[in-house]
């Protein structure tokens, strides 16, 4: 038994008062000499048993009434389960679907939406513990539900913190477990939790099902309610009473780092590289003078050792801040800053925004794997290798500027003779006006592109139109982006025309050139070009290298499986509207074609400065599709693949541990992978870092769902430590704090019947409701006992009798 007011428990000693009064009355009775004792004794003998029975019943009733009174005053709560059944009460099952996306960290001065949700759960649990009926709790966090739903056998038991658990009267530890939970760095919606909780509700039919959806109810998730309605309707059909517990009353201003990615250039140590950063203003007012603080963490190969008590093992260098004058509401503004790493290694770039109501999306990091050089293969069919000359001049100007590129110039026989493994060392292959290719070569180039490599064709006098169309274009199935036509001169421009011969469309290869006010191609001349007939699905839409508010590369899944991609895209057009540069996805890689030769009798572009930009950026662009992702959304499983011939299978992950600065180490062992074929001589293994690993603690799981950089330290067979970094970021869409009004929310979900309540109101109403229920029960018991006492007292003739005469 428990009582709200423990000191009043001593009041139960008052139960002895009726007994004491009875005993005192026995002692303190008046003495009465009496003559007619015979008649009195006769009456006593006749009624003795009844008189004693009535007296004891009356005494018992008075003691019980006193106990009930004290219990009511002391706030009696029952831990016995027989009471509800005795009273015919129903088991109450509280289903709490808790939004732990990072927008739930929204709040000022330490009071967060997630904190409000925990207080609401606290109120539910405490009130349930006070109630006489049996209460059960099922708690599903959206994050765990989302992760469990990714599993084929995902069920509520995998995701639930509590699954139909009876709420104990001693609930401090129970609540401590709930309060130890924290919001994650994930973007989440309630569908997974709703789908997981449905079988549970259906499995516990007959109980009173109270479904609490505790969230901040942002427009992102709740303005498109079709799927939510579909998920909620079965729940109401199963008898659940749905309450939307709104944990946020007001919208706050919020900025988030929408994207952070190195530009698609040559990623080589010692070569400056621009980093693009995008900041989105999710608020209703323009953000002014936004200060972006970038910093680099350098992991020079062979020079860095794992440091567990620091946020990074690498060397941190603060960079000059970047200021954005103004970000209009709802807009994204891009800035870029330059970084330079002298040593190769898996470096990290991190940017940080000023503090606002949501801190999670104010920080974002990306990895930057740098090598000592990037190999480029130029294949020139001409003996003079004129095209290769111009290309090499652009890519490797010598001592003038270090590009970090290693240029190899070979003939077509190189492609034919070398293996795929040798070709895979090149980040890009430029096929410069080859007349035709041999079949093995075509196969190698196709495999090269499919595996993520980039190929760029230049076509001129030597290109065999028929061969290209039949074998390389192959009705759109081959490497080449378009069907070749005849070479044609570009007509002279009319005097009144003020157009450049070439018109560049937005594309990464022209990124910096497009930002200039006028056309940078005014000086170049195109005399001739090869006509290209685009397939029907071609478009002029241009892929953007950075996709704000989303994963950077939507064309590839985490498993590398090719998704549906856009068709051939025009990157640049001629003055007469004919396509000049085309871009076609092929497998994991890309194939570009420039519809001209670099020779002066075709165009002067090779001597134009813009060609250098194109050449360098095309290498970066074409080579970018084989690069590892510089960042992945929080919660993405990490399968670290490595050669077991080079590295020991044991490796150690260093996982950030919140704001403490120290990190949580996690040992792992790479499991050997089965060989794909007999020719594959290298033994590989992989170590998986996933929240579903059973041995992970709650802290580790939480950190794996939180943005940050995780270091994977492995040891090669010579004992050297080598790090592989992976940056996890928060998807910025969750940072949009706009929310519908309660009436909009309810209207959107109709015809599903839901109640909207704010979290603090829920806590207050739960407490009030509980007190009424408990007091009503006790008051009813007390009144019943008092009525019984009166009846017994009358029965036992303890009330002054109605005065009636004696015998005479």
């Amino acid at each position: 038994m428990q009582f709200l007011f423990q000191p009043l428990v001593f009041g139960f000693l008052l139960v002895l008062v009726p007994l004491l009064v009875h005993l005192i009355n026995l002692i303190r009775h008046r003495k009465q000499p009496w003559a007619a004792m015979d008649f009195l004794l006769e009456s006593y003998k006749k009624h003795r048993r009844w008189v004693l029975l009535k007296q004891w019943l009356l005494l018992l009733c008075r003691m019980l009434a006193m106990a009930a009174l004290v219990a009511m005053l002391a706030g009696w709560i029952s831990s016995n389960r027989w009471l509800p059944s005795w009273l015919g009460q129903q088991v109450v099952h509280h289903y709490v679907l808790l939004d732990d996306s990072y927008s739930m960290t929204d709040g000022l001065e330490g009071e967060t939406a997630y904190g409000s949700a925990l207080e609401a759960i606290d109120a539910i649990v405490r009130q349930a513990a006070l109630d006489n009926a049996e209460h059960r709790l099922t708690l599903l966090r959206w994050s765990r539900s989302s992760l469990a739903s990714q599993n084929e056998n995902g069920s509520a038991s995998m995701a639930a913190d509590f699954l139909a658990t009876s709420i104990p009267k001693e609930n401090e530890k129970f609540l401590d477990k709930i309060k130890s939970t924290r919001p994650t760095g994930l973007e989440l919606s309630p569908e997974s939790a709703l789908s997981l909780v449905l079988p549970v509700i259906e499995g516990f039919r007959g109980e009173q099902a109270n479904l609490y959806i505790m969230s901040d109810f942002r427009r992102n998730q709740w303005d498109r309610p079709e799927t939510l309605r579909a998920a909620l309707q079965p729940l109401t059909a199963a008898g659940a009473e749905i309450q939307l517990i709104d944990c946020v009353r007001h919208e706050h201003e919020n900025l988030s780092v929408a994207a952070l990615e190195p530009e698609q250039e040559v990623w080589v140590a010692g070569v400056p590289l621009f980093i693009d950063v995008q900041v989105r203003n999710h608020g209703q007012q323009a953000a002014r003078n936004v200060l972006i603080k970038p910093r680099t963490i350098e992991y020079a190969s062979g020079q860095v050792k794992p440091v567990i008590d620091q946020p990074f093992s690498g060397v941190i260098t603060e960079l000059a801040p970047v200021i954005i004058d103004q970000i209009p509401p709802g807009e994204v503004v891009s800035r870029r800053f330059q970084v330079l790493f002298e040593s190769p290694g898996e470096h990290i770039i991190e940017v940080r925004l000023p503090d606002d109501s949501v801190a999670t999306d104010n920080v974002r990091a990306c990895t930057l794997p740098l090598t000592t050089g990037q190999k480029v293969l130029l294949v020139d069919g001409d003996l003079t290798r004129s095209n290769a000359f111009y290309m090499e001049a652009a890519l490797n100007p010598g001592a003038i500027a270090r590009t970090g590129l290693q240029i190899d110039i070979h003939s077509e026989s190189f492609l034919r003779d070398e293996s795929d493994e040798v070709l895979s060392q090149y980040s890009a292959i430029y096929v410069l006006d080859l007349p035709r290719l041999e079949e093995p070569t075509i196969g190698k180039l196709e495999r090269f592109a499919q595996s993520g490599g980039g190929i760029c064709f230049f076509v001129g006098d030597n290109a065999d139109k028929n061969f290209y169309n039949e074998r390389l274009f192959n009705a759109g199935k081959g490497l080449f982006p378009a069907e070749l036509g005849d070479a044609a001169p570009l007509p002279e421009a009319a005097a009144e025309e003020d157009l450049s011969d070439m018109l560049a469309l937005p594309h990464p290869v022209f990124g910096p050139l497009l930002s200039s006010a006028g056309s940078p191609f005014r000086l170049l001349r195109v005399q001739r070009y090869v006509e290209a007939k685009l397939p029907d699905s071609a478009s002029t839409a241009t892929p953007t290298p950075m996709t704000p508010d989303a994963a950077p590369d939507k064309t590839r899944s985490n498993t590398g499986e090719k998704k549906s991609v856009a068709a051939v895209q025009t990157v640049a057009k001629l003055r007469n509207g004919k396509p000049f540069i085309l871009d076609k996805p092929f497998g994991e890689g890309r194939v570009m074609s420039v519809m001209t030769s670099l020779l002066p009798n075709w165009t002067s572009w090779a001597q134009d400065p813009t060609f250098v930009v194109f050449a360098l950026r095309s290498v970066g662009y074409l080579g970018s599709f084989r690069r590892a992702q510089v960042g992945v959304p929080s919660g993405t499983p990490w399968s670290e693949e490595m050669s077991l011939q080079r590295f020991l299978p044991e490796l150690e992950f260093l996982i950030p541990a919140g704001n403490s600065g120290t990190r949580l180490p996690l040992k792992s062992v790479a499991k050997p992978q089965p060989k794909k074929d007999e020719a594959d001589s290298e033994l590989k293994g992989d170590a998986t870092l996933s929240v579903f690993e059973p041995e992970l603690s709650e802290d580790l799981v939480h950190q794996l769902l939180t943005p940050g950089v995780i270091e994977a330290w492995r040891t090669d067979i010579t004992g050297n430590r080598e790090v592989h970094n992976r940056a996890f970021y928060a998807l910025p869409a969750e940072g949009n704090l706009q929310k519908p009004t309660p009436s909009e929310l309810i209207a959107n979900l109709r015809p599903v019947s839901v109640k909207h309540r704010y979290a603090e109101n829920l806590a207050n109403s739960m407490l009030t409701a509980g007190l009424v229920n408990r007091d009503t029960l006790l008051m009813a018991i007390l009144i019943g006992l008092l009525l019984l006492e009166q009846a017994l007292a009358y029965w036992a003739s303890f009330h002054p009798p109605v005065r009636k005469g004696g015998l005479v």
């Binding site: 009775h29 009465q32 007619a36 004792m37 015979d38 009624h47 015998l807 005479v808």
Partner: protein
Amino acid sequence: MPDSRRYLPPDATKRLGRLELQARHIVEGFLSGMHRSPYFGQSIEFVQHRQYVPGDDLRHIDWKVWARQDRLVIKQYEEETNLRCTLLVDGSASMSYGKAGQTKYDYARLLAACISYIVLRQQDSVGCVVFDDRIRARVPWRSQHQHLRTIVEALEHQTPKDKTNLDGVFRDIVSTFPKRGLMVLISDLLGAEQETLRGLGMLRRAGHDVLVFHVLHDDELDFPFNDPTRFEGLESDANLTCNPRALREGYLEALQRFLERVRKTTAAQKIDYQLVKSSDAPDAALARFLHARMSHHSH
């Protein structure tokens, strides 16, 4: 200081003077009187007229006076007989119940004095016996008016104590009072019920005319107790702690049954029985009793 006036307040004496005691049975006497006697004739001497008051026996109206004067008067006679009246006053412990000065014994003494006065006033002799389980005081018969003081003194000197034993006492009286006379028993009759009734029968069989004034206290008839009480027997060691309200009904039932048995027994043995409450005025009780006897004997 014994004082007959203490028991005979002036107003009571005046009212008692109007009462006439008529023996219902012929008693043996050596003096001729106005009473009917199986042995001698009776004589009635007219004393006075008085105004008729409601309740007077119509047979005693002087119709001649009414015819002459058109007013109703009662003829009053002074009866003379050689009546020997014995007052048997219960002095057992049970008679001590009641407040000081208002006990049943006090009431019995008052009643005895009243009867003594009446008897002496009509020139008959009266004696007195105070008893409990035995005879504690005995006053012989006398017919002088001064004898009243002797009787009062005898009553005054006794205090209630010990048990009641009517059977033994009456056996003693029957053996020591061989001549038939009027036995007036003033008692609460609380004791061994069978012995009590047997003792009354013994008196009646000995030829005595028996009058019983059954004196009970109001409390004994009403049982008005509310609070938890320890009842301690006045004539026994029995005691009982109880809630009186719980036992009241049963007590009154038992008492009622007792009274019924006493009434039936006395009626069967032609014993005049009158239940009087200690709160009743003694003269009123006497008047009611004597009226009842007179009515009874006239038939």
